[in-house]
Symmetry: C2
Subunit: 151 residues, 2 copies
Amino acid sequence: MQRTDFSEMTCSIARSLAVAGEPWSPLILRDAWVGINRFDDLQRDLGVSRKVLAERLKHLVEAGMLERRLYAERPGRYEYVLTRKGFEFVDVLMVMAQWGDRWTAGDAGPPVLRRHRACGEVTQIELRCAECGEIVTSSDVEVEPGPGMAA
Amino acid sequence: MQRTDFSEMTCSIARSLAVAGEPWSPLILRDAWVGINRFDDLQRDLGVSRKVLAERLKHLVEAGMLERRLYAERPGRYEYVLTRKGFEFVDVLMVMAQWGDRWTAGDAGPPVLRRHRACGEVTQIELRCAECGEIVTSSDVEVEPGPGMAA
DNA sequence: CACGGTGAGTTCCCTTACGGAACTCACGAT
DNA sequence: ATCGTGAGTTCCGTAAGGGAACTCACCGTG
């Protein structure tokens, strides 16, 4: 856990980070997304210490991002699968990956491509306004207080 | 706590986190986005320690996310403004905020609303495939090796 | 039956980063 | 001459991360 607790802040970004922003947590969720679901596999793939991995998995399960599911009895073996909440968070990771492709990949190009199953194409993801359908960038948006803003 | 360096990993998510994933960095970028650009204002708004804030600002400037801009000479005073790279990262933060609105806001509702200047509406952001225009969710996408993938 | 292997953690120690407060520095204003 | 301000820097105690070793429950083989 980060030293400062973000979960009580009046900010959806801060609260998201409190759930999934600790070091390694986004990478654990990415792995769970692409089918790496077991403790030892996660540890090997990420190179994270077993200690921290155990802590993160516990936190992500308690936060409802992952479900700890028994996949073999006698001896009890568990795997971690994304919940709906966790799945929706992968949207954030896809946009982050796309930003990383553009700004950190260098000449070698992006390490992975994302293919849209429905149309079969390697896809770029666009952020569009659900009201008018136009592409939205951060400079097109202004923020204003919402109902959950404290006085 | 020594932290593992994500910047050399062959993963655009990990490399994005190496740039902007440290504790507080996303919140600093959010603040820079909404117009909180000066050291003391950032410190007051976030409640981060001045020590960590100074480290994060240095790192974000070196990474090209923020520009340290002189806004008053004699005595030299500086503010931090988003670069294009930083601005594009705000896309990630907007999607993250939307996820947080949905999954962490509770009954009070979202603390801030995002209004699309072009159409004037409070907007939900949709992720759409640039090829076919359909909405994309994480389960519609499969990943495959790209040019930057190591052997 | 003893032995080794496997998956899923837990424990221990060491180092480093964070939090918080105090301090500095260069100026401008009173 | 002193106070205030913005932008940091320094110092110290504590807690979190890294990494290796250890545990525990079971299974398969000789």
